[in-house]
């Protein structure tokens, strides 16, 4: 288990403040945040490459806050691989084992294990600069895994790869994680990557941890506008929550009375995901639903899916498949009904 307590890192132009986290053994933990949010610094601090100003890092019941990185037994993989350019693939993979003064047979056995695991045995004699991006990333992973790290730290491991390679490496990460029951902390700015890989996600913004939770929690119940934006909720409203009929609540958003499910009252914010909104040419009536007539003001064609902005007011960003878009004959300037469950609106 990795425990991070009130960690502060001060790098002059960058400050990480009061980061507190618990990562369980065998967990695939994602740190999600925009570029410059301090994700790499957080990872490098866990690895011991930066000394924190205050706070503590615990690794498997041991306080490692002041321990040298070489004594922590942590695997680290950077976005752009960072392979040793003067060493062959085989020597890159066995680098960590050689530092541990293992016997030659043991080095070969363990290195082979890592090489087989990543399926890179055909690359052993190659120099790093002759490899493709995906191959490099696999070598970097094999190099980190060869030392049997207590935890694997991945800094945007998929971001530098082309989409096809990214998918296969992502799958491989998932497989390795399951197979080895390895604790992984994976940093990314890609929300979809976070959702599909993470057991839990921590959202890091401007040097602070904004929210920690399961993908579903981050996805459905963002606690702040930053998290909601990062989770691509798209629809973020501000309004007054009042008592409605039958113990329900109503939120006044730009004059439109939206039925919501919440205990809070007063001025609050709410998020609503585009894919939770149903578009129809006729009004939909149901007690548990909100339905409003609006005007299509903007259409963004993404190929198989299409984003529409519907002004009620407020503006609702909605997502439809190309098929329904064509069937409904939607056009800019046309009228349409937006309908969503009261429970789909997340008030925070």
């Amino acid at each position: 288990m990795i425990t991070i307590r009130e960690l502060c890192v001060d790098l002059g132009d960058f400050v990480l403040e009061n980061a507190t986290l618990d990562v369980q053994n065998g967990e695939y933990f994602i740190i999600l945040g925009p570029t410059g949010a301090g994700k790499t610094v957080l990872l490098e601090t866990i690895a011991g490459l930066y000394s924190p100003k205050s706070g503590a890092v615990w690794l498997q019941e041991q306080d490692v806050t002041t321990l040298d990185p070489e004594k922590r037994n942590i695997g680290f993989v950077y976005q752009d691989h960072v392979l040793f350019p003067h060493l062959t693939v085989a020597d890159n993979v066995s680098f960590g084992l050689k530092q541990r003064k293992k016997s030659k047979t043991e080095i070969r056995e363990v290195a082979n294990w890592a090489i087989e695991l990543l399926g890179i045995s055909h690359l052993l004699k190659r120099n790093p600069d002759t490899l493709s991006g995906g191959e490099k990333q696999k070598v970097a992973l094999a190099r980190a895994l060869a030392v049997s790290p207590k935890v694997l730290l991945l800094d945007e491991p998929l971001s530098a790869l082309d989409p096809e390679t990214r998918e296969s490496v992502q799958q491989q990460l998932q497989d390795i994680h399951n197979q080895l029951n390895l604790t992984i902390i994976h940093v990314t700015h890609d929300f979809e990557e976070a959702i599909s890989l993470g057991d839990r996600i921590a959202v890091l913004a401007e040097g602070r941890l904004a929210q920690v939770g399961t993908p579903q929690e981050i996805f459905r119940q963002p606690k702040s506008e930053t998290v909601a934006r990062f989770a691509m909720a798209r629809n973020i409203f501000t309004g007054e929550v009042k008592d409605g009929d039958d113990e329900s609540a109503v939120m006044d958003i730009e004059g439109t009375q939206v039925t919501v499910v919440t205990d809070v009252r007063g001025k609050h914010r709410a998020s609503l995901r585009p894919e939770d909104i149903l578009l129809s040419n006729e009004p939909v009536h149901s007690s548990a639903r909100d339905s409003f007539k609006g005007n299509v003001t903007h259409i963004v064609d993404r190929g198989s899916t299409i984003y529409l902005t519907v002004a009620v007011p407020p503006d609702f960003v909605c997502l439809v498949t190309r098929r329904s878009f064509e069937e409904m004959n939607l056009k800019e300037g046309g009228d349409v009904y937006v309908t969503f469950k009261a429970s789909a609106v997340h008030v925070f």
């Binding site: 040298d68 942590i74 680290f76 950077y78 960072v82 040793f84 530092q99 541990r100």
Partner: protein, 273 residues
């Protein structure tokens, strides 16, 4: 396709008006090239082979050239031992006053070398602190090989430090970080990652320093006129016997320096993609 047109123009001289500036620059550059080339070439080709051979057989000349070579080699070794760590610190860390330190390193290049020699004399002379301290161990600088070495070290070490610094700067610090996470200590990381990746720059800096040390005259002459290094010998023969006697020694010295320089260039460029 503007760039390919330009490239074509350069080769065929078709777009001549377009390259007026380039053409002017080539002419001006040629002046410098000839200015360097002609005196050296003329001296080498106009020297009589038999006189040159005679000069090689002259023990005083051989001793002087050999003294130049090995004194400079000692200076370079000292430069490696003390300058490479400094270069690494300058390449890796930011600290207040770093720019001043970096500028300071290059001061020996701009100081007149006779003045540098005088300054060294004020520290390493018999009646001064370091001179006295070393004197306890029987090491004297004035009029001795150690004096030649420190004079060479002073004027040539900036070349090694600057080159090594550039070399270390070219090594991604994250390579060192990864090595640390893989279990390598700072020393191990330096030896197995930073040094091998910067060695080409260090090596070319070393040969440049070595060659620069061999060619040093002013600072060495102030500290140690005797034993005589090759440039001092050239000077003495010129002063005492005139041009004809100094020229063969000068030619030999130029050939030796050129050889070292060419080797250093070859090493620095070998395998560069």
């Amino acid at each position: 396709m503007g760039s390919s047109y330009l490239r074509e123009a350069h080769i065929t001289v078709k777009g001549f008006s377009l390259n007026k500036l380039t053409f002017t620059f080539v002419l001006l550059g040629l002046v410098i090239l000839l200015f360097i080339f002609v005196p050296l070439f003329k001296m080498i080709v106009s020297s009589d082979a038999s006189i040159l051979w005679e000069t090689i057989l002259d023990e005083e000349v051989r001793d002087a050239i050999w003294l130049s070579i090995y004194s400079s080699l000692i200076a370079t070794t000292a430069g490696l031992a003390f300058g490479v760590p400094l270069a690494y610190i300058l390449a890796r860390f930011d600290f207040p006053g770093k720019k001043i330190v970096e500028g300071f390193i290059d001061v020996p290049i701009v100081v007149p070398h006779t003045a540098a020699g005088i300054a060294l004399l004020f520290v390493f002379g018999k009646q001064f602190f370091l001179g006295k301290a070393f004197g306890v161990f029987g090491i004297e600088f004035v009029g001795a090989v150690p004096g030649i070495v420190i004079a060479m070290l002073f004027v040539s070490v900036p070349f090694l430090v600057d080159s090594a610094k550039d070399g270390f700067k070219g090594v991604d610090p994250r390579l060192e970080k990864v090595a640390r996470t893989l279990g390598a200590s700072p020393v191990k990381t330096f030896i197995s990652i930073s040094l091998p990746l910067a060695w080409r720059s260090i090596l070319s800096g070393s040969t440049l320093m070595w060659a620069r040390g061999i060619s040093e005259f002013g600072a060495v002459m102030i500290l140690a006129y005797h034993p005589m290094i090759a440039p001092v010998l050239v000077w003495e023969r010129f002063e005492s016997y005139g041009l004809d006697y100094s020229r063969p020694v000068a030619v030999l010295l130029i050939l030796v320096s050129l050889f070292i320089f060419i080797v250093s260039r070859a090493i620095a460029h070998r395998g560069k993609s």
